[in-house]
């Protein structure tokens, strides 16, 4: 039964990984930008929430109302005025820009918030849960994270499939030159896609901050989890990202069940196994591009 419990905990953790990886997947899917600052930006979101709780009488969840729009605006501006300029300068340029941003963010956070570990306090919710049987219990916070992740992914999927702007986003991902012939400004589509990506990573960053401690240097370690979730699920597929997050989460909790030291390693091993056996990801047919 402890194994069943490990799998259940892994699925719940996987929801958070999937939510976190969504933005990385979206930015790569629409703009072919690999955002190396993805992890640091989620840490920035957590620190923003931390500062807000410090300054205002706000509940940790309520900070999302301010942090998410702020991060979305940051994403829009960053794409429109920084990343857009780098896109014309070859494939390496945006990669270097986001790498530079990652270094800058880590150092600014270190300067402003010190290297201390922080956490966002959610009171009793962090430990409250439902005992299903002798050794299987689900924490309400984990269920909430998975629920938010699924809601965000479903919402994003509907947006892409059903709205005119979502359609424009998919078309821009296919062919950013031809889409301009339809009267659509691809730069505006890019900026909006980045804003959405930043909004989702902000939610994930704040939820991470509620789940575990964070410090200014933890971003790159998180980025790896997002990469692994995206690659396991298959690049450019939202449902793949959810599946990838869940597989990664389960691998880590099952690994931890064997020995706590194996948690991260087990995730990496599953990732490597997928890369070797199914490089297109678990949810993609082999024929897809």
């Amino acid at each position: 039964m402890t194994w069943v419990n490990a799998v259940v905990q892994g699925i719940l953790l996987g929801g958070l990984y999937a939510l976190f990886a969504t933005g990385l997947s979206l930015m790569f899917g629409v703009m072919r930008i690999v955002n190396l600052a993805h992890g640091d930006l989620s840490v920035l979101a957590a620190f923003l929430a931390f500062a807000l709780i410090d300054a205002l009488p706000l509940n940790a969840f309520a900070t999302l109302v301010l942090v998410v729009p702020a991060m979305a605006a940051l994403g829009w501006l960053l794409q429109r005025f920084v990343l857009q300029r780098s896109l014309g300068a070859g494939q390496l340029a945006p990669l270097l820009v986001t790498f530079g941003l990652s270094v800058v963010l880590q150092n600014v956070l270190l300067e402003v918030f010190s290297p201390d570990s922080r956490a966002l306090d959610i009171g009793g919710l962090g430990t409250a849960g439902l005992r299903l049987s002798g050794s299987v219990s689900v924490g309400w916070f984990g269920v909430l994270c998975l629920g938010i992740a699924i809601a965000v992914l479903v919402g994003l999927q509907l947006f892409l499939a059903r709205t005119a702007f979502g359609r424009a986003m998919r078309a821009t991902s296919d062919d950013q030159e031809t889409v301009q012939l339809m009267g659509i400004d691809h730069r505006r589509v890019y900026a909006t896609a980045t804003a959405i990506a930043f909004a989702t990573l902000a939610v994930a960053g704040v939820l991470f901050g509620m789940r575990t401690t964070f410090d200014p240097s933890i971003g790159p370690a998180r980025l790896i989890f997002a990469f692994e979730a995206v690659i396991i699920g298959g690049l450019g597929s939202l449902w793949g990202t959810l599946a990838g997050g869940v597989v990664l989460g389960v691998a880590q909790t099952v690994g931890a069940q064997i020995s706590p030291a194996y948690s991260i390693l087990a995730g990496h091993l599953v990732f490597l196994a997928v890369l070797v056996l199914r490089p297109q990801g678990i949810l993609r047919p082999a024929a897809a591009r």
């Binding site: 359609r167 078309a171 012939l181 339809m182 009267g183």
Partner: protein, 230 residues
């Protein structure tokens, strides 16, 4: 008649290679102009520059009396310029109907008129655009361009890679398009097809205008001379 599109003294270069040298083109409102020429004569370059995908090194482009030389492509489309690009360039991850809908940009538009022009697309509306035959793809590409109700339709090599019978079917809808008041500037390698479809013809040779004549009274010999430069 008044000129809908005036291209004056247009120079376009790709890096070190110059593709157009001082090209002048005028398209009157309501007419169909065919630009013919061999591979590499600069036909596609001309259309891409008019649509705004390429920037000219020199020269002016005027549309409906307005200078649009510096306008980006996405701001030319709303003025009424639509390009059917070479090689169709459909969006493969969108369905046929979605490809048509996006032809109107972010605006709402119904594809009914397109389905009247190309009835065989109705059955294919939910199919992915990547799963169509070449002729079906070309029909969708033309339909997509018409969704914005353009005043000027730019057609780039509609016949490219298609069987003659399919080309004939596609050109058969052209009268219906022009009858609705759309001015057409088409580019073709197939001289006979171009002469049959157009009111006027202009021949490009190595980036320069080599011939300009009414499609009805141009001699084969003159076209051959302008086409091959012999």
């Amino acid at each position: 008649m008044t000129a809908l599109l005036t291209v004056e003294d247009l120079d376009v270069r790709y890096g070190d290679a110059q593709a157009l040298f001082g090209v002048d083109v005028t398209v009157e409102a309501g007419e169909t102009l065919a630009v013919i020429g061999a591979n590499g004569a600069g036909k596609s370059t001309l259309l891409k520059t008019i649509a705004g995908l390429l920037r000219p090194g020199r020269g002016r482009i005027r549309f409906d009396g307005r200078d649009i030389t510096g306008l980006p492509a996405h701001r030319r489309a709303p003025l009424g310029i639509a390009l059917v690009p070479e090689g169709r360039r459909l969006f493969p991850s969108l369905t046929v109907e979605e490809n048509l809908l996006i032809g109107a940009g972010l605006a709402k538009a119904r594809p009914d008129r397109i389905y009247e022009l190309f009835p065989h697309l109705v059955a294919l509306r939910r199919r992915g655009a990547g799963l169509l035959s070449g002729g079906e793809q070309q029909a969708v590409a033309i339909g997509r361009a018409l969704m914005s109700d353009p005043r000027l339709l730019l057609l780039d090599e509609v016949s490219l890679g298609l069987a003659p019978i399919v080309v004939k079917q596609l050109y058969a809808v052209l009268p219906a398009i022009t009858a609705a008041g759309t001015t057409v500037l088409l580019v073709e390698q197939d001289v006979n097809q171009a002469l049959a479809a157009a009111d006027r013809v202009q021949c490009l040779l190595e980036g320069r205008v080599a011939l300009e004549a009414a499609a009805g009274d141009v001699s084969r010999a003159a076209v051959t001379r302008a086409y091959f430069g012999v």
